[in-house]
Structures are given as structure tokens and as C-alpha cells.
């Protein structure tokens, strides 16, 4: 069997399949681990309701723990509290930036049912550092990202949305 500490360490090596520069632990997807003599229970929370990576993540967690001799791996999904990008720590945010994805700017929005329209965040290009950037779309290659473009170095980049 594994200790909880060993299990956390192992899972911190499991990359997110769509943003492989950060681990599933760094993203805050793993909520709790409970070790038993014959196995382990992993409590996970999905990022977005329809995130297609969820099933691959579950499989990677299971394979990693079983390969390390954890025994029976039970997965439990927990929706409450809902996942928020606020759980991504500072170290992981810097890894995202170095990878070319601007990390969430500020905290996730709460409140107002009124739509927030035509408000644009000024983001700093993760490649050249210019603030002369523009948003191309609120959505991107995955549910969690928006698409931007740098008007100085002319490169596109992605923004991990606060949610």
C-alpha cells in the first residue's frame, strides 16, 4: 500500500492531457485521497462540465497509482465545491506562462446576472512581454481557454480563463 504522502507525490507527476505543463494536483482536480490497507480512494472534481479530458485524467490517475502498487483504486466524483481556476497556485501559474498560456488574471467572477459586454482585459504577451494584444475569441482550443493575439510580435497565444 501507499501512504497518502506518496500518493500525492505520484499524482503530482500526472500531467493534464490538454495542458501537460501542469499536473492534475496543481490544477486542483484532486480534492482528497484516502488510503486503505487494500487500496485508495481518489476524490476528483471536473474542471468544466463537458471537459473531454476528464476521462483520460481518470485513466491516468488509476494507471499511475496501480503501477506504484496502490492496490484497488476507487474514483469518486465530487461537484461541490465547484472547481475554480483560483485553485491554481502561483508556481503552476508561472509554468503556464512559460508554456505560452497566460494564467487567469485575478479571481473568478461572482455576482451580477447582467452580461458584461465588450470589456477587454489587457493581457501581456507571454512571448515578448508586449501589452499591445487583442482578444480574438472568448473560446479556444479547449473549454478552459480564450484566444488572443499579440500585435507586437504577431504571435497568437492562449489565455486560461478565470472561472
Amino acid at each position: 500500500m501507499l501512504t497518502e504522502e506518496q500518493a500525492w507525490k505520484l499524482l503530482d507527476e500526472v500531467p493534464d492531457p490538454e495542458v501537460p505543463v501542469v499536473s492534475v494536483v496543481e490544477l486542483g482536480i484532486i480534492r482528497e485521497l484516502h488510503c486503505r490497507p487494500d487500496g485508495i480512494t481518489v476524490v476528483v472534481t471536473p474542471t468544466y462540465s463537458g471537459c473531454p479530458a476528464t476521462e483520460v485524467i481518470g485513466l491516468s490517475i488509476r494507471e499511475t497509482l496501480q503501477a506504484a502498487g496502490a492496490g484497488k483504486v476507487d474514483m469518486e466524483t465530487r461537484l461541490d465545491p465547484a472547481w475554480t481556476s483560483d485553485w491554481i497556485g502561483d508556481a503552476a501559474r508561472e509554468k503556464l506562462r512559460a508554456y505560452g498560456i497566460v494564467p487567469p488574471d485575478g479571481r473568478a467572477a461572482v455576482g451580477a446576472a447582467q452580461p458584461i459586454r465588450f470589456v477587454r482585459k489587457t493581457l501581456t504577451c507571454p512571448r515578448c512581454g508586449s501589452t499591445n494584444t487583442e482578444r480574438l475569441s472568448e473560446f479556444g482550443s479547449t473549454a478552459c481557454k480564450a484566444t488572443y493575439r499579440c500585435k507586437s510580435c504577431l504571435e497568437p497565444f492562449e489565455y486560461f480563463k478565470p472561472i
Binding site: V44, P46, Y48, S49, G50, C51, P52, T54, E55, I57, G58, L59, M75, E76, T77, L79, D80, P81, A82, W83, T84, A108, A109, A113, Q114, P115, I116, R117, F118, L136, S137, E138, F139, G140, S141, A143, T147, K161, I163
Partner: protein
């Protein structure tokens, strides 16, 4: 990926019905939006509509799983989504009408997401804890959908002559269907009394408070309310629903029990 815990419950038929309405609104609009994949006017909007569709189908999965658990007959999300007959779907008619063009699709997303944001805000406090958890998650996603669609409604309505005309035509077409959201019915009354969630009719004023200013800014003219009635949430659907289900259910009907 993993089974949500099966609950033994004593849910009332109204409770199951209420959750199914939420689930089927998300499922059927998600299915309609998926039709845009590869066909949107620009690639950014292709990605946006596919992502919104994914969010909605994800919400539908959680809600259908929950409805199946409340029902207690062992039906899972796939059986709920793919093996019911048309009369058992509880989405409002607005969700099943064809996409037509980008204007109608955008306007429907706007009406729908404005409604969902208000509804999820209330359901966060539901006495049904699983529904409250789904609401907290869906609310975050619905806010992005509302921002996206309201910006486009203004761009299209207050845009070119052609975009204005198409969006006005979409408004004339869709507006009568929006009344169905707020029509009073016994299910809503029972649910409001139970603490599970609000009667949808109680959200009408707040919904108009969100949509009318945007339509005004978009220079669109809101039609007068008419006696037109639609009954999708009671299971009586339009002629479009059968075609949508034929596409959506094809695999499970042809290869029962097939899995990826």
C-alpha cells in the same frame, strides 16, 4: 469517467420532471449547437459554438444521471439521453427549432443563457444538494455563454443592413417561443413549494430585465406578446424534434448498448 454515487431517494414525480426539464434543455440545445461544428462563419465562432455545446452536453450528463438516480429505475445517463421516446423529452420547444442561420442561433443562445444564469443562481440554494452542486458549476459556464451571445446580438442587430434584417427575423420567429419558459404549470408550483427550485414564471421579470436592454442596444424591435402556445416541456414537441432525435439516437438505436 466514474459513477456518481447512486442515491436511494423518495423523489416526487414533480421533482424528477423538473430536473428533466433542465437536463433536456441543455441536451437538446447542445445537440443543435453541435451541428455548427465545421460550418460557422469564422473559425473563432466555430470553436465557440462547439465549446458552448460541450458545456451544455456536460451539464446534461450530470442532470440526466441525477434524474436517473431520482427515478430509481437504474437508468443511466446514456439510457436517458438516447433511449427515451419523443414524448418523454421535457425541453422547451425553442431549443429544438432548427439553427436556421448564425443570427437565430446566437439569439437563441442569448435567450437561453440569460434564463439559465437566473435559474442556476436560484438553484445554487436548492434543497436538493446534488442539484445545487450542478447549479454552482453550470452557473460559471452559463455566464460565459451569456457574455458571448449578448455581444453578438448587439453586433448583429446594430451591424449591417443584412445582419440587422436577419437578426430581426430571428427575433420575430423566436420571441413567441420564449413565452413557454414562463408559462405556469402544476410541476413548477409543487417544486416552488418544496424548496427544490423556483417556479420558472417567477423569473420572467428578471429575464426581461436582462434581455430587453440588450435587444434595445441592438436596435431590434421586440414583437408584441401573442396567444401563441408551445408545449415542449409537457412532452408535446414540434415537427423538428423527431428529426433531431433520429440523428442523436441513431447509434444507440442501431447498435443497442454500444460503447466507445
Amino acid at each position: 469517467m466514474v459513477a456518481t454515487m447512486t442515491q436511494q431517494t423518495t423523489a416526487t414525480p414533480e421533482h424528477i420532471e423538473y430536473v428533466l426539464r433542465l437536463a433536456d434543455n441543455a441536451l437538446i440545445l447542445g445537440q443543435r449547437l453541435s451541428e455548427w461544428c465545421g460550418h460557422a462563419p469564422v473559425i473563432e465562432e466555430d470553436l465557440a459554438l462547439a465549446n458552448i455545446s460541450l458545456d451544455l452536453v456536460g451539464q446534461a450528463r450530470l442532470l440526466l444521471t441525477h434524474a436517473g438516480n431520482l427515478e430509481g429505475k437504474g437508468r443511466d445517463e446514456d439510457q436517458m439521453a438516447f433511449l427515451r421516446v419523443e414524448r418523454d423529452y421535457r425541453n422547451v420547444t425553442m431549443m429544438e427549432v432548427p439553427n436556421e442561420d448564425f443570427g437565430r442561433t446566437t439569439l437563441r443562445n442569448f435567450f437561453s443563457s440569460a434564463f439559465q444564469v437566473l435559474l442556476w443562481e436560484k438553484l445554487v440554494k436548492s434543497s436538493d444538494s446534488e442539484l445545487a452542486a450542478i447549479a454552482a458549476k453550470s452557473l460559471k459556464e452559463a455566464r460565459y455563454h451569456l457574455n458571448h451571445s449578448s455581444e453578438w446580438v448587439i453586433r448583429l442587430g446594430d451591424g449591417t443592413e443584412v445582419s440587422h434584417a436577419k437578426t430581426q427575423a430571428a427575433l420575430d420567429y423566436l420571441w413567441p417561443y420564449t413565452a413557454e419558459l414562463f408559462a405556469a404549470n402544476p410541476t413548477d408550483e409543487a417544486i416552488a413549494a418544496s424548496g427544490v427550485g423556483p417556479a420558472w414564471s417567477s423569473l420572467e421579470a428578471a429575464w426581461e430585465g436582462v434581455v430587453l436592454p440588450v435587444l434595445g442596444e441592438a436596435t431590434l424591435v421586440v414583437p408584441a406578446r401573442t396567444p401563441f402556445k408551445s408545449y415542449g416541456k409537457f412532452g408535446r414537441h414540434s415537427e423538428h424534434m423527431g428529426h433531431l432525435l433520429a440523428t442523436m439516437q441513431y447509434m444507440q438505436r442501431t447498435y443497442p448498448g454500444a460503447q466507445w
